[in-house]
């Protein structure tokens, strides 16, 4: 096998060349620190806006998930149903795969709560027997992707023989989902627009770079550089713009979050909520950087494709 090692050295040489171009394009950028930093800052700001909005929506969704857990279905059983039957129903419902958990309010507990809550305490003492039904409180598992499933569950529970009435404030949940959906789409729209802006910024910067290095490109073509060879440093420059822009965007988002953390904490304390402000997760951060790298690469690729062919030695 004489081919093996030769092939290997070829790949190694190719890799070494790529790493060298990667580093030299970074070096090229550091030689004009001011303009490089300004471009990177613009990219970072353009990316910070959608990622900040994404973060805000994420936190609001987290907050509403807390509200979701207060979405409960109250099952008022027929008054004739005794505790034993109610208990078997409860056990059965606990096994339902769309139900998180079920608790029972017995007739006595219901009366007790009513006494305390209604202010009719003393008047109720004169009742001979307890008119209240047994109530099962069902907490459904919330699937944000299909808000309709709660409705289906509600119908299913209503059809149970023991149940007289099943109650849920669906309107509220529906409105929340609708609002979140709008916010979600809004962020996509803003994100896409700003992504396009990043593409144009990188494209324009690379275009200027190509024009500034016109003589270098001409000479390279004259001494036999392939188009791929000439394209490479510009593509890597675009990659660096995207990468550092993404990194800066992450930094800006995280910094803004820290600025907001204290007032948000004060606010949640006022609401007696255990709400926690969440930052960008590791996955989110990776996505952000990957998206910005791809935008940088794509922007430079478009610019290079358009302008490199125009430069021919003459």
């Amino acid at each position: 096998m004489r081919k093996g090692p030769q092939y290997n050295t070829l790949i190694t040489a190719y890799l070494i060349h790529h790493i060298r171009v990667l580093l030299s394009s970074l070096g090229h950028l550091t030689r004009q620190p001011l303009s490089t930093m300004m471009t990177m800052a613009v990219i970072a700001i353009a990316l910070t806006l959608p990622s900040g909005l994404y973060l805000a929506l994420n936190n609001i969704s987290g907050l509403s998930a807390g509200w979701d857990s207060s979405t409960k279905i109250s099952l008022f059983l027929h008054t004739s149903v005794d505790e034993k039957k109610a208990q078997t129903l409860l056990e059965r419902l606990r096994l339902h795969n769309e139900i998180d958990h079920v608790s029972m309010i017995s007739k006595d507990q219901g009366l007790e709560q009513f006494k305390q809550g209604s202010g009719f305490g003393s008047a109720l003492q004169f009742l001979e027997d307890n008119p209240l039904p047994i109530v099962l409180v069902v907490q459904p598992i919330i699937d944000t992707k299909r808000p309709d499933h709660i409705n289906q569950l509600l119908k299913e529970l209503e059809n149970d023989k023991l149940v007289e009435l099943a109650q849920l404030d669906m309107q509220w949940v529906k409105r929340l989902y609708a609002m979140l959906e709008i916010a979600h789409r809004g962020i996509w729209a803003i994100g896409s627009l700003l992504g396009l802006a990043v593409l144009l910024i990188v494209g324009n910067t690379i275009r200027l770079d190509i024009q500034n290095r016109r003589s270098e490109i001409e000479v390279s073509k004259l001494i036999g550089a392939s188009n791929a060879f000439i394209r490479r440093p510009f593509l890597y420059t675009g990659f660096w713009y995207g990468f550092t822009g993404g990194l800066l965007a992450w930094l800006l988002t995280t910094a803004s979050l820290y600025l907001l953390a204290e007032p948000v904490e004060k606010l949640t304390l006022l609401y007696h909520s255990d709400f926690q402000l969440n930052g960008l997760s590791f996955g989110d951060t990776m996505n952000l950087i990957m998206i910005s790298c791809s935008l940088g690469l794509l922007g430079s690729w478009l610019a290079v494709g358009r302008h490199l062919d125009e430069i021919e030695p003459s």
């Binding site: 040489a13 000479v219 004259l222 001494i223 036999g224 550089a225 392939s226 188009n227 021919e312 003459s314």
Partner: protein, 230 residues
């Protein structure tokens, strides 16, 4: 090495730069291309280097018909040619060494090999001590020699030079021409375009004269080049 067969070149706009030019430069030979400015010397060299394409006729370079070379293949043909320009075409943002190393970097040579080859090329043109200098600090003659070093560093089989002595005084011009003659002696084919007839006669190599895009058989016949085939 070079074979022109009835080659014509008409530029967009109608100007006919070359008109049915045929000649042959055998491998390892040295030839001069003369004529007044505008006679078609530069166009002829550009056709060989695939900077321009002929309107009619065929050019065979080292056994390859250049009409069959696609734009993607052009760089690989050029890697076999060393081109020297009147205005040097050096890059002033990097030192002499990096300028000379460019063809080797493009062709993916190893770092160590680049070092030794660039030094060898600079040594041949007598500029070994200037490898770290910026080209802008060099004299015209020195810059031209850097350009020559860059053209020969990857050991091409053909050297093309377009008015390499255009901006130099006679003494320096002779030096440069003798440099080309030395490369020719080690086997490189050389084609030099120059309007400096005195210098060419002094060098005494085979000459092809162009006038208004046509070959003219004046004092030195182009047949000498053709019959020079080995």
């Amino acid at each position: 090495m070079i074979h022109f067969d009835n080659v014509s070149k008409r530029y967009p706009g109608g100007f006919e730069a070359l008109n049915q030019v045929s000649f042959r430069l055998p491998r390892g030979k040295m030839g001069y291309l003369t004529g007044h400015s505008g006679a078609g010397k530069s166009t002829l060299l550009k056709l060989i280097a695939l900077i321009e394409r002929p309107s009619r006729g065929q050019i065979i370079l080292d056994g390859i018909n250049l009409n069959h070379i696609s734009n993607r293949q052009v760089p690989y043909v050029r890697r076999n040619i060393g081109i020297i320009f009147q205005n040097h075409h050096l890059l002033y943002d990097r030192p002499v060494f990096d300028n000379v190393a460019m063809p080797l970097v493009i062709q993916g040579y190893r770092h160590r090999e680049i070092q030794s080859r660039v030094r060898a090329a600079l040594d041949q043109v007598g500029l070994l001590k200037k490898e770290k200098s910026d080209p802008i600090t060099l004299s015209g003659g020195e810059q031209q020699r850097v350009g020559i070093a860059r053209a020969i560093v990857h050991k091409p089989s053909l050297l093309l030079a377009d008015e390499p002595t255009g901006n130099l005084d006679p003494e320096l011009s002779l030096e440069i021409m003798e440099l080309f003659a030395r490369f020719n002696q080690v086997g490189t084919s050389v084609l030099i375009a120059s309007h400096d007839l005195d210098l060419i006669q002094h060098m005494g190599a085979q000459t092809l004269s162009l006038k208004d895009g046509r070959i003219v058989n004046d004092e030195i016949s182009p047949n000498e080049i053709i019959t020079g085939a080995a």
